[in-house]
Protein backbone atom coordinates (compact mmCIF):
# COMPACT_ATOMS: atom_id res chain seq x y z
CA UNK A 1 0.00 0.00 0.00
CA UNK A 2 1.30 3.38 -0.96
CA UNK A 3 0.93 6.13 1.60
CA UNK A 4 -1.16 9.20 0.76
CA UNK A 5 1.10 11.99 -0.38
CA UNK A 6 0.09 15.59 0.02
CA UNK A 7 1.09 16.82 -3.47
CA UNK A 8 -0.97 14.04 -5.04
CA UNK A 9 -4.04 14.80 -2.94
CA UNK A 10 -3.58 18.47 -3.66
CA UNK A 11 -3.47 17.83 -7.39
CA UNK A 12 -6.55 15.64 -7.16
CA UNK A 13 -8.57 18.22 -5.23
CA UNK A 14 -7.62 21.04 -7.59
CA UNK A 15 -8.36 19.03 -10.74
CA UNK A 16 -11.67 17.72 -9.34
CA UNK A 17 -12.74 21.26 -8.43
CA UNK A 18 -11.91 22.66 -11.85
CA UNK A 19 -13.64 19.71 -13.50
CA UNK A 20 -16.91 20.44 -11.64
CA UNK A 21 -16.97 23.91 -13.25
CA UNK A 22 -16.66 22.28 -16.66
CA UNK A 23 -19.08 19.38 -16.17
CA UNK A 24 -21.91 21.49 -14.68
CA UNK A 25 -21.70 23.81 -17.69
CA UNK A 26 -21.72 21.02 -20.25
CA UNK A 27 -24.69 19.42 -18.49
CA UNK A 28 -26.61 22.71 -18.27
CA UNK A 29 -26.51 23.31 -22.02
CA UNK A 30 -27.30 19.66 -22.69
CA UNK A 31 -30.39 20.06 -20.50
CA UNK A 32 -31.61 23.23 -22.20
CA UNK A 33 -30.82 22.69 -25.86
CA UNK A 34 -30.10 18.92 -25.90
CA UNK A 35 -26.77 19.49 -27.61
CA UNK A 36 -23.73 17.38 -26.65
CA UNK A 37 -21.23 20.19 -26.90
CA UNK A 38 -17.86 19.01 -28.19
CA UNK A 39 -16.46 22.56 -28.15
CA UNK A 40 -16.68 22.78 -24.37
CA UNK A 41 -13.00 22.00 -23.75
CA UNK A 42 -12.04 24.89 -26.04
CA UNK A 43 -14.20 27.33 -24.05
CA UNK A 44 -11.68 26.66 -21.27
CA UNK A 45 -8.58 26.67 -23.49
CA UNK A 46 -9.49 30.05 -25.02
CA UNK A 47 -9.33 31.48 -21.51
CA UNK A 48 -6.09 29.70 -20.65
CA UNK A 49 -4.59 31.98 -23.31
CA UNK A 50 -6.63 35.04 -22.39
CA UNK A 51 -5.36 34.78 -18.85
CA UNK A 52 -1.83 34.02 -20.01
CA UNK A 53 -1.87 37.23 -22.04
CA UNK A 54 -3.32 39.23 -19.14
CA UNK A 55 -0.69 37.89 -16.76
CA UNK A 56 2.39 38.01 -19.01
CA UNK A 57 1.61 41.07 -21.11
CA UNK A 58 -0.29 43.30 -18.69
CA UNK A 59 1.25 41.88 -15.53
CA UNK A 60 -2.04 41.14 -13.76
CA UNK A 61 -2.32 38.58 -10.98
CA UNK A 62 -3.57 35.27 -12.43
CA UNK A 63 -6.51 35.36 -10.02
CA UNK A 64 -7.73 38.71 -11.37
CA UNK A 65 -7.99 37.08 -14.79
CA UNK A 66 -10.99 34.98 -13.73
CA UNK A 67 -13.35 37.94 -14.12
CA UNK A 68 -12.65 38.76 -17.79
CA UNK A 69 -12.33 35.02 -18.47
CA UNK A 70 -15.86 34.42 -17.18
CA UNK A 71 -17.30 36.99 -19.57
CA UNK A 72 -15.11 36.01 -22.50
CA UNK A 73 -15.96 32.31 -22.04
CA UNK A 74 -19.62 33.24 -21.84
CA UNK A 75 -19.42 35.21 -25.10
CA UNK A 76 -17.59 32.42 -26.96
CA UNK A 77 -20.36 29.99 -25.91
CA UNK A 78 -23.14 32.47 -26.65
CA UNK A 79 -21.76 32.97 -30.14
CA UNK A 80 -21.90 29.21 -30.76
CA UNK A 81 -25.54 29.15 -29.67
CA UNK A 82 -26.75 32.27 -31.47
CA UNK A 83 -24.76 32.00 -34.69
CA UNK A 84 -24.73 28.23 -35.20
CA UNK A 85 -27.05 26.19 -33.01
CA UNK A 86 -30.11 28.46 -32.87
CA UNK A 87 -30.46 28.74 -36.66
CA UNK A 88 -30.05 24.95 -36.93
CA UNK A 89 -32.60 24.32 -34.16
CA UNK A 90 -35.06 26.64 -35.92
CA UNK A 91 -34.73 24.46 -38.99
CA UNK A 92 -35.48 21.36 -36.95
CA UNK A 93 -31.95 19.91 -36.98
CA UNK A 94 -31.55 16.74 -34.94
CA UNK A 95 -28.90 16.25 -32.28
CA UNK A 96 -26.42 14.55 -34.65
CA UNK A 97 -26.31 17.64 -36.86
CA UNK A 98 -26.00 19.87 -33.80
CA UNK A 99 -23.20 17.71 -32.40
CA UNK A 100 -21.27 17.86 -35.67
CA UNK A 101 -21.76 21.62 -35.72
CA UNK A 102 -20.16 21.88 -32.27
CA UNK A 103 -17.22 19.78 -33.52
CA UNK A 104 -16.81 22.21 -36.42
CA UNK A 105 -16.91 25.17 -34.03
CA UNK A 106 -14.37 23.33 -31.87
CA UNK A 107 -11.97 23.05 -34.82
CA UNK A 108 -12.31 26.74 -35.57
CA UNK A 109 -11.56 27.56 -31.93
CA UNK A 110 -8.51 25.26 -31.94
CA UNK A 111 -7.16 27.13 -34.98
CA UNK A 112 -7.78 30.48 -33.33
CA UNK A 113 -6.05 29.29 -30.15
CA UNK A 114 -3.00 28.19 -32.14
CA UNK A 115 -2.87 31.53 -33.93
CA UNK A 116 -3.08 33.36 -30.61
CA UNK A 117 -0.39 31.12 -29.11
CA UNK A 118 1.97 31.82 -32.02
CA UNK A 119 1.20 35.53 -31.98
CA UNK A 120 1.89 35.88 -28.25
CA UNK A 121 5.06 33.89 -28.67
CA UNK A 122 6.46 35.93 -31.55
CA UNK A 123 5.37 39.41 -30.58
CA UNK A 124 5.72 39.26 -26.77
CA UNK A 125 8.27 36.42 -26.49
CA UNK A 126 6.01 34.52 -24.09
CA UNK A 127 6.26 30.75 -23.78
CA UNK A 128 2.88 29.63 -25.10
CA UNK A 129 3.39 25.90 -25.56
CA UNK A 130 3.83 23.47 -22.67
CA UNK A 131 3.84 26.29 -20.13
CA UNK A 132 2.63 26.71 -16.56
CA UNK A 133 1.95 29.68 -14.29
CA UNK A 134 2.61 27.76 -11.06
CA UNK A 135 5.58 30.00 -10.32
CA UNK A 136 3.27 33.03 -10.12
CA UNK A 137 0.85 31.45 -7.62
CA UNK A 138 0.63 33.04 -4.19
CA UNK A 139 1.31 31.26 -0.95
CA UNK A 140 -1.47 30.53 1.53
CA UNK A 141 -0.56 28.69 4.76
CA UNK A 142 2.48 27.15 3.11
CA UNK A 143 0.43 25.82 0.21
CA UNK A 144 -0.18 27.22 -3.27
CA UNK A 145 -3.28 29.43 -3.14
CA UNK A 146 -4.98 27.49 -5.95
CA UNK A 147 -5.37 24.58 -3.46
CA UNK A 148 -7.83 26.79 -1.55
CA UNK A 149 -9.26 28.89 -4.37
CA UNK A 150 -10.30 26.05 -6.70
CA UNK A 151 -12.44 24.06 -4.22
CA UNK A 152 -13.85 27.25 -2.68
CA UNK A 153 -14.84 28.62 -6.09
CA UNK A 154 -16.34 25.28 -7.06
CA UNK A 155 -18.54 25.26 -3.94
CA UNK A 156 -19.56 28.89 -4.44
CA UNK A 157 -20.54 28.17 -8.05
CA UNK A 158 -22.75 25.19 -7.25
CA UNK A 159 -24.39 27.14 -4.39
CA UNK A 160 -25.05 30.14 -6.60
CA UNK A 161 -26.44 27.86 -9.32
CA UNK A 162 -28.76 26.24 -6.77
CA UNK A 163 -30.11 29.60 -5.64
CA UNK A 164 -30.40 30.85 -9.20
CA UNK A 165 -32.39 27.81 -10.35
CA UNK A 166 -34.62 27.60 -7.28
CA UNK A 167 -35.05 31.07 -5.88
CA UNK A 168 -35.08 33.42 -8.84
CA UNK A 169 -37.96 33.78 -11.25
CA UNK A 170 -35.70 33.55 -14.29
CA UNK A 171 -33.99 30.46 -12.88
CA UNK A 172 -37.31 28.71 -12.26
CA UNK A 173 -38.34 29.72 -15.77
CA UNK A 174 -35.18 28.03 -17.07
CA UNK A 175 -36.18 24.80 -15.31
CA UNK A 176 -39.70 25.15 -16.72
CA UNK A 177 -38.32 25.66 -20.24
CA UNK A 178 -36.10 22.60 -19.82
CA UNK A 179 -38.97 20.38 -18.74
CA UNK A 180 -41.74 21.46 -21.08
CA UNK A 181 -40.75 24.08 -23.68
CA UNK A 182 -44.17 24.27 -25.35
CA UNK A 183 -46.03 24.84 -22.07
CA UNK A 184 -43.39 27.38 -21.04
CA UNK A 185 -43.89 29.25 -24.29
CA UNK A 186 -47.67 29.29 -23.92
CA UNK A 187 -47.45 30.94 -20.49
CA UNK A 188 -45.20 33.67 -21.82
CA UNK A 189 -41.66 32.51 -20.98
CA UNK A 190 -39.12 33.54 -23.61
CA UNK A 191 -37.48 30.14 -23.88
CA UNK A 192 -34.88 31.33 -26.36
CA UNK A 193 -33.63 33.83 -23.78
CA UNK A 194 -33.34 31.14 -21.10
CA UNK A 195 -31.44 28.89 -23.50
CA UNK A 196 -29.09 31.67 -24.56
CA UNK A 197 -28.43 32.49 -20.92
CA UNK A 198 -27.64 28.84 -20.16
CA UNK A 199 -24.97 28.94 -22.89
CA UNK A 200 -23.50 32.11 -21.47
CA UNK A 201 -23.30 30.60 -17.96
CA UNK A 202 -21.85 27.37 -19.33
CA UNK A 203 -19.12 29.19 -21.25
CA UNK A 204 -18.50 31.51 -18.30
CA UNK A 205 -17.89 28.59 -15.94
CA UNK A 206 -15.56 26.99 -18.48
CA UNK A 207 -13.78 30.35 -18.65
CA UNK A 208 -13.22 30.33 -14.88
CA UNK A 209 -11.74 26.85 -15.05
CA UNK A 210 -9.60 27.83 -18.04
CA UNK A 211 -8.18 30.89 -16.30
CA UNK A 212 -7.08 28.77 -13.33
CA UNK A 213 -5.77 25.73 -15.25
CA UNK A 214 -2.19 27.06 -15.85
CA UNK A 215 -1.79 27.39 -12.07
CA UNK A 216 -2.28 23.66 -11.79
CA UNK A 217 -1.00 21.94 -14.91
CA UNK A 218 1.13 22.27 -18.00
CA UNK A 219 -0.97 23.85 -20.73
CA UNK A 220 -0.78 23.57 -24.49
CA UNK A 221 -3.17 24.65 -27.29
CA UNK A 222 -4.48 21.07 -27.52
CA UNK A 223 -5.49 20.50 -23.89
CA UNK A 224 -9.18 21.10 -24.67
CA UNK A 225 -9.55 17.80 -26.48
CA UNK A 226 -7.98 15.93 -23.58
CA UNK A 227 -10.08 17.78 -21.03
CA UNK A 228 -13.18 16.96 -23.06
CA UNK A 229 -12.82 13.26 -22.20
CA UNK A 230 -12.89 14.03 -18.48
CA UNK A 231 -15.71 16.56 -18.90
CA UNK A 232 -17.93 14.10 -20.77
CA UNK A 233 -17.08 11.29 -18.36
CA UNK A 234 -18.00 13.52 -15.40
CA UNK A 235 -21.25 14.65 -17.02
CA UNK A 236 -22.28 11.13 -18.01
CA UNK A 237 -21.45 9.72 -14.58
CA UNK A 238 -23.63 12.55 -13.25
CA UNK A 239 -26.52 11.60 -15.52
CA UNK A 240 -26.39 14.49 -18.06
CA UNK A 241 -29.76 15.78 -16.85
CA UNK A 242 -28.86 17.10 -13.44
CA UNK A 243 -26.28 19.77 -12.66
CA UNK A 244 -25.80 18.51 -9.10
CA UNK A 245 -25.10 15.09 -10.59
CA UNK A 246 -22.59 16.76 -12.91
CA UNK A 247 -20.97 18.36 -9.88
CA UNK A 248 -20.64 14.99 -8.13
CA UNK A 249 -19.45 13.41 -11.37
CA UNK A 250 -16.80 16.12 -11.69
CA UNK A 251 -15.54 15.44 -8.16
CA UNK A 252 -15.54 11.69 -8.67
CA UNK A 253 -13.84 11.65 -12.06
CA UNK A 254 -11.37 14.35 -11.02
CA UNK A 255 -10.31 12.47 -7.89
CA UNK A 256 -10.29 9.03 -9.53
CA UNK A 257 -8.32 10.23 -12.53
CA UNK A 258 -5.62 12.04 -10.57
CA UNK A 259 -5.27 9.64 -7.64
CA UNK A 260 -5.57 6.58 -9.89
CA UNK A 261 -2.86 7.76 -12.25
CA UNK A 262 -0.68 8.85 -9.33
CA UNK A 263 -0.83 5.51 -7.54
CA UNK A 264 -0.48 3.47 -10.70
CA UNK A 265 2.64 5.37 -11.67
CA UNK A 266 4.15 4.67 -8.25
CA UNK A 267 3.17 1.01 -8.36
CA UNK A 268 3.76 -0.02 -11.98
CA UNK A 269 6.01 2.76 -13.17
CA UNK A 270 5.73 6.22 -14.72
CA UNK A 271 5.22 4.75 -18.23
CA UNK A 272 1.52 4.47 -17.29
CA UNK A 273 0.98 8.26 -16.96
CA UNK A 274 0.17 8.95 -20.66
CA UNK A 275 -2.64 6.40 -20.38
CA UNK A 276 -4.42 8.61 -17.86
CA UNK A 277 -7.60 9.08 -20.00
CA UNK A 278 -8.28 5.34 -19.60
CA UNK A 279 -9.61 6.02 -16.11
CA UNK A 280 -12.39 8.51 -17.02
CA UNK A 281 -13.17 6.50 -20.15
CA UNK A 282 -13.57 3.28 -18.15
CA UNK A 283 -15.77 4.99 -15.56
CA UNK A 284 -17.86 6.46 -18.37
CA UNK A 285 -18.19 3.03 -19.96
CA UNK A 286 -19.16 1.37 -16.68
CA UNK A 287 -21.78 4.06 -16.07
CA UNK A 288 -23.27 3.66 -19.53
CA UNK A 289 -23.39 -0.12 -19.14
CA UNK A 290 -24.71 -0.41 -15.60
CA UNK A 291 -26.36 2.90 -14.69
CA UNK A 292 -27.11 4.67 -17.97
CA UNK A 293 -28.97 7.45 -16.19
CA UNK A 294 -25.94 8.24 -14.07
CA UNK A 295 -25.47 8.65 -10.34
CA UNK A 296 -28.58 10.76 -9.96
CA UNK A 297 -30.71 8.33 -11.99
CA UNK A 298 -30.08 5.46 -9.59
CA UNK A 299 -32.79 4.87 -7.00
CA UNK A 300 -30.38 4.68 -4.06
CA UNK A 301 -33.08 4.19 -1.45
CA UNK A 302 -34.45 1.18 -3.26
CA UNK A 303 -30.97 -0.23 -3.78
CA UNK A 304 -30.08 0.15 -0.10
CA UNK A 305 -33.35 -1.46 0.97
CA UNK A 306 -32.66 -4.41 -1.30
CA UNK A 307 -29.17 -4.72 0.21
CA UNK A 308 -30.62 -4.66 3.69
CA UNK A 309 -33.12 -7.37 2.85
CA UNK A 310 -30.55 -9.64 1.23
Amino acid sequence: MVALSLPLIRDAVIFASLLTMLSTGLTLTYMTTRVPNFAHGEFATMNVYLNLALVQVLGLSPYLGVVPSFFFGGLVALLLYLAVLKPLLDRGANYVILMIATIAYDMILISIINIIADYLNRVYKIQTRLFQLKGLDLDLLGQPMIFTVAPALSLIIITVLYFFLNKTKFGIAMRAAIENPSLAEVIGININLTYAFSWFISGGLAGLAGALLPLYMTCNPDIGVRLLISIFAASIVGGLTNIYGAFLGGLLIGLAETLGTGYLSIMVGPWIVPYRPVIPLSLMLLTLLFAPRGLTGVDWRKLLRREAEA
Binding site: K169, R175, N180, A184, E185, V186, I187, G188
Partner: protein, 235 residues
Protein backbone atom coordinates in the same frame (compact mmCIF):
# COMPACT_ATOMS: atom_id res chain seq x y z
CA UNK B 1 -67.72 35.64 -27.34
CA UNK B 2 -65.78 33.23 -29.55
CA UNK B 3 -67.22 32.75 -33.03
CA UNK B 4 -65.90 30.04 -35.32
CA UNK B 5 -66.92 30.35 -38.95
CA UNK B 6 -66.56 27.76 -41.71
CA UNK B 7 -63.33 26.52 -40.23
CA UNK B 8 -61.24 24.02 -42.16
CA UNK B 9 -58.23 22.95 -40.12
CA UNK B 10 -55.93 20.06 -39.26
CA UNK B 11 -52.31 19.06 -38.88
CA UNK B 12 -50.24 20.01 -41.92
CA UNK B 13 -51.78 17.94 -44.71
CA UNK B 14 -54.17 15.95 -42.54
CA UNK B 15 -57.47 17.80 -42.47
CA UNK B 16 -59.52 17.08 -39.35
CA UNK B 17 -62.16 19.82 -39.23
CA UNK B 18 -64.52 20.40 -42.14
CA UNK B 19 -66.47 23.62 -42.41
CA UNK B 20 -67.06 23.91 -38.67
CA UNK B 21 -69.11 26.84 -37.40
CA UNK B 22 -69.91 27.49 -33.77
CA UNK B 23 -70.52 30.39 -31.44
CA UNK B 24 -69.55 29.89 -27.83
CA UNK B 25 -71.63 31.88 -25.41
CA UNK B 26 -70.35 34.23 -22.74
CA UNK B 27 -70.72 33.13 -19.13
CA UNK B 28 -71.89 29.65 -20.11
CA UNK B 29 -70.46 26.18 -20.17
CA UNK B 30 -70.17 25.24 -23.84
CA UNK B 31 -69.74 21.48 -24.15
CA UNK B 32 -68.16 19.78 -27.17
CA UNK B 33 -68.82 16.05 -27.37
CA UNK B 34 -68.38 13.37 -30.00
CA UNK B 35 -66.78 10.01 -30.65
CA UNK B 36 -63.01 9.45 -30.68
CA UNK B 37 -61.27 11.19 -33.55
CA UNK B 38 -64.18 13.48 -34.32
CA UNK B 39 -62.03 16.60 -33.95
CA UNK B 40 -63.02 17.86 -30.50
CA UNK B 41 -59.48 18.52 -29.30
CA UNK B 42 -58.51 19.83 -32.73
CA UNK B 43 -61.24 22.45 -32.49
CA UNK B 44 -59.82 23.73 -29.18
CA UNK B 45 -56.29 23.68 -30.55
CA UNK B 46 -57.41 25.57 -33.65
CA UNK B 47 -58.91 28.32 -31.51
CA UNK B 48 -55.59 28.52 -29.64
CA UNK B 49 -53.46 28.67 -32.78
CA UNK B 50 -51.93 25.23 -32.43
CA UNK B 51 -53.08 23.71 -35.74
CA UNK B 52 -52.87 24.54 -39.42
CA UNK B 53 -55.92 26.55 -40.44
CA UNK B 54 -56.66 26.27 -44.18
CA UNK B 55 -59.68 28.55 -44.33
CA UNK B 56 -62.38 30.08 -42.19
CA UNK B 57 -62.09 32.32 -39.18
CA UNK B 58 -62.04 32.34 -35.40
CA UNK B 59 -62.98 35.61 -33.79
CA UNK B 60 -62.80 36.56 -30.12
CA UNK B 61 -64.85 39.69 -29.41
CA UNK B 62 -64.35 40.65 -33.01
CA UNK B 63 -60.56 40.06 -33.01
CA UNK B 64 -59.31 37.54 -35.54
CA UNK B 65 -57.34 34.75 -33.83
CA UNK B 66 -56.19 32.65 -36.77
CA UNK B 67 -52.58 33.31 -37.65
CA UNK B 68 -51.68 34.52 -34.18
CA UNK B 69 -49.09 32.66 -32.07
CA UNK B 70 -50.43 30.89 -28.93
CA UNK B 71 -48.73 33.18 -26.38
CA UNK B 72 -50.44 36.12 -28.08
CA UNK B 73 -53.84 34.45 -27.84
CA UNK B 74 -53.17 33.69 -24.17
CA UNK B 75 -52.55 37.39 -23.60
CA UNK B 76 -55.95 38.26 -25.08
CA UNK B 77 -57.58 36.39 -22.20
CA UNK B 78 -58.05 32.85 -23.44
CA UNK B 79 -56.66 29.97 -21.40
CA UNK B 80 -56.19 26.51 -22.82
CA UNK B 81 -55.64 23.46 -20.64
CA UNK B 82 -54.29 20.62 -22.76
CA UNK B 83 -55.14 17.03 -21.97
CA UNK B 84 -51.53 16.10 -21.16
CA UNK B 85 -48.43 17.89 -19.88
CA UNK B 86 -50.35 20.81 -18.46
CA UNK B 87 -48.12 21.29 -15.41
CA UNK B 88 -44.35 21.38 -14.85
CA UNK B 89 -43.84 18.13 -12.96
CA UNK B 90 -40.31 18.93 -11.76
CA UNK B 91 -41.44 22.23 -10.27
CA UNK B 92 -43.27 22.63 -6.97
CA UNK B 93 -46.92 23.69 -6.98
CA UNK B 94 -45.92 27.17 -5.90
CA UNK B 95 -43.28 27.43 -8.64
CA UNK B 96 -45.87 26.33 -11.18
CA UNK B 97 -48.20 29.11 -10.06
CA UNK B 98 -45.32 31.59 -10.15
CA UNK B 99 -44.54 30.57 -13.73
CA UNK B 100 -48.19 30.78 -14.73
CA UNK B 101 -48.11 34.49 -14.01
CA UNK B 102 -44.69 35.00 -15.57
CA UNK B 103 -45.68 38.21 -17.29
CA UNK B 104 -47.46 39.79 -14.29
CA UNK B 105 -45.66 42.07 -11.87
CA UNK B 106 -44.40 40.49 -8.67
CA UNK B 107 -46.76 41.95 -6.02
CA UNK B 108 -49.82 41.42 -8.17
CA UNK B 109 -48.69 37.86 -8.87
CA UNK B 110 -48.22 36.99 -5.19
CA UNK B 111 -51.71 38.34 -4.48
CA UNK B 112 -53.18 36.25 -7.30
CA UNK B 113 -51.43 33.10 -6.05
CA UNK B 114 -53.07 33.47 -2.62
CA UNK B 115 -56.39 34.09 -4.34
CA UNK B 116 -56.35 30.98 -6.54
CA UNK B 117 -55.09 28.78 -3.73
CA UNK B 118 -58.21 29.79 -1.79
CA UNK B 119 -60.32 28.52 -4.70
CA UNK B 120 -58.55 25.14 -4.61
CA UNK B 121 -58.08 24.33 -0.93
CA UNK B 122 -57.03 20.83 -1.94
CA UNK B 123 -53.68 22.03 -3.29
CA UNK B 124 -52.97 24.31 -0.32
CA UNK B 125 -51.00 21.73 1.63
CA UNK B 126 -48.89 20.84 -1.42
CA UNK B 127 -47.38 24.27 -2.05
CA UNK B 128 -43.81 23.05 -1.60
CA UNK B 129 -44.39 19.62 -3.16
CA UNK B 130 -43.14 18.63 -6.58
CA UNK B 131 -46.17 18.64 -8.86
CA UNK B 132 -45.15 15.33 -10.41
CA UNK B 133 -45.88 13.64 -7.09
CA UNK B 134 -49.54 14.73 -7.04
CA UNK B 135 -52.45 12.61 -8.26
CA UNK B 136 -54.04 13.22 -11.65
CA UNK B 137 -56.95 15.12 -10.13
CA UNK B 138 -54.71 17.30 -8.02
CA UNK B 139 -52.60 18.07 -11.06
CA UNK B 140 -55.75 19.07 -12.93
CA UNK B 141 -56.55 21.46 -10.06
CA UNK B 142 -53.04 22.93 -10.24
CA UNK B 143 -53.37 23.36 -14.01
CA UNK B 144 -56.72 25.10 -13.56
CA UNK B 145 -55.29 27.33 -10.84
CA UNK B 146 -52.38 28.17 -13.19
CA UNK B 147 -54.82 29.21 -15.89
CA UNK B 148 -56.81 31.34 -13.44
CA UNK B 149 -53.75 33.36 -12.38
CA UNK B 150 -53.83 35.18 -15.69
CA UNK B 151 -57.48 36.15 -15.15
CA UNK B 152 -58.72 34.75 -18.45
CA UNK B 153 -62.16 35.53 -19.79
CA UNK B 154 -62.44 32.18 -21.54
CA UNK B 155 -61.19 28.82 -20.30
CA UNK B 156 -60.91 25.85 -22.62
CA UNK B 157 -60.60 22.42 -21.00
CA UNK B 158 -59.51 19.39 -23.02
CA UNK B 159 -60.87 16.29 -21.27
CA UNK B 160 -60.13 17.46 -17.74
CA UNK B 161 -61.53 14.27 -16.19
CA UNK B 162 -59.80 11.69 -18.36
CA UNK B 163 -57.91 9.13 -16.27
CA UNK B 164 -59.35 10.48 -13.03
CA UNK B 165 -61.09 8.45 -10.34
CA UNK B 166 -64.88 9.05 -10.45
CA UNK B 167 -64.88 11.00 -7.21
CA UNK B 168 -62.08 13.28 -8.39
CA UNK B 169 -63.74 13.69 -11.80
CA UNK B 170 -66.87 14.86 -10.03
CA UNK B 171 -65.07 17.49 -8.00
CA UNK B 172 -63.20 18.76 -11.07
CA UNK B 173 -66.52 19.25 -12.89
CA UNK B 174 -67.97 20.94 -9.79
CA UNK B 175 -65.06 23.38 -9.89
CA UNK B 176 -65.85 24.16 -13.53
CA UNK B 177 -69.46 24.95 -12.58
CA UNK B 178 -68.11 27.16 -9.82
CA UNK B 179 -65.96 29.08 -12.32
CA UNK B 180 -69.06 29.83 -14.38
CA UNK B 181 -71.32 30.72 -11.45
CA UNK B 182 -68.95 32.62 -9.18
CA UNK B 183 -66.50 34.13 -11.65
CA UNK B 184 -68.84 34.50 -14.63
CA UNK B 185 -66.33 32.78 -16.82
CA UNK B 186 -66.92 31.46 -20.33
CA UNK B 187 -66.07 27.77 -20.47
CA UNK B 188 -65.44 25.55 -23.47
CA UNK B 189 -65.35 21.96 -22.31
CA UNK B 190 -64.32 18.96 -24.36
CA UNK B 191 -65.31 15.75 -22.65
CA UNK B 192 -65.13 12.04 -23.29
CA UNK B 193 -67.66 11.46 -20.54
CA UNK B 194 -70.51 13.05 -22.48
CA UNK B 195 -73.29 12.43 -19.97
CA UNK B 196 -71.54 14.10 -17.02
CA UNK B 197 -70.49 17.06 -19.13
CA UNK B 198 -73.91 17.60 -20.68
CA UNK B 199 -75.49 17.51 -17.25
CA UNK B 200 -73.49 20.53 -16.08
CA UNK B 201 -73.34 22.33 -19.44
CA UNK B 202 -75.54 24.94 -21.09
CA UNK B 203 -74.84 24.80 -24.77
CA UNK B 204 -73.65 21.76 -26.69
CA UNK B 205 -71.98 20.84 -29.95
CA UNK B 206 -71.79 17.29 -31.25
CA UNK B 207 -68.90 16.70 -33.63
CA UNK B 208 -68.90 13.67 -35.90
CA UNK B 209 -66.12 13.09 -38.43
CA UNK B 210 -64.91 16.67 -38.11
CA UNK B 211 -68.33 18.21 -38.84
CA UNK B 212 -70.93 19.68 -36.54
CA UNK B 213 -73.74 17.11 -36.31
CA UNK B 214 -75.78 18.89 -33.69
CA UNK B 215 -75.91 22.30 -32.06
CA UNK B 216 -78.27 23.22 -29.24
CA UNK B 217 -79.01 23.03 -25.55
CA UNK B 218 -77.36 20.35 -23.46
CA UNK B 219 -80.67 18.93 -22.21
CA UNK B 220 -81.85 18.75 -25.79
CA UNK B 221 -78.88 16.63 -26.86
CA UNK B 222 -79.10 14.44 -23.77
CA UNK B 223 -82.72 13.61 -24.53
CA UNK B 224 -82.28 13.32 -28.29
CA UNK B 225 -83.42 9.78 -29.03
CA UNK B 226 -81.12 8.93 -31.95
CA UNK B 227 -78.01 11.09 -31.45
CA UNK B 228 -77.52 10.23 -27.80
CA UNK B 229 -77.65 6.50 -28.52
CA UNK B 230 -75.73 6.58 -31.77
CA UNK B 231 -72.80 8.80 -30.85
CA UNK B 232 -72.70 9.18 -27.11
CA UNK B 233 -73.46 5.64 -26.03
CA UNK B 234 -76.28 6.73 -23.74
CA UNK B 235 -78.78 3.89 -23.44
Amino acid sequence: MIVVQNLNAGYRRLQVLFDVSASFQVGKINVIVGPNGSGKSTLLKSIFGLTSVYSGSVKFNGVELTGRPPHDIARLGIAYLPQLNKVFENLTVEENLLMAGYTLNKSRLLEKIEEVIEIFPIIKKYRKTKTGLLSGGERQMVATAMALIREPKVMMFDEPTSELAPKMAKSVLEKIVELRDKMKMTIILVEQNAKKALEIGDRSYLLVGGRVAFEGGCRELLSHPQLSTLYLGLR
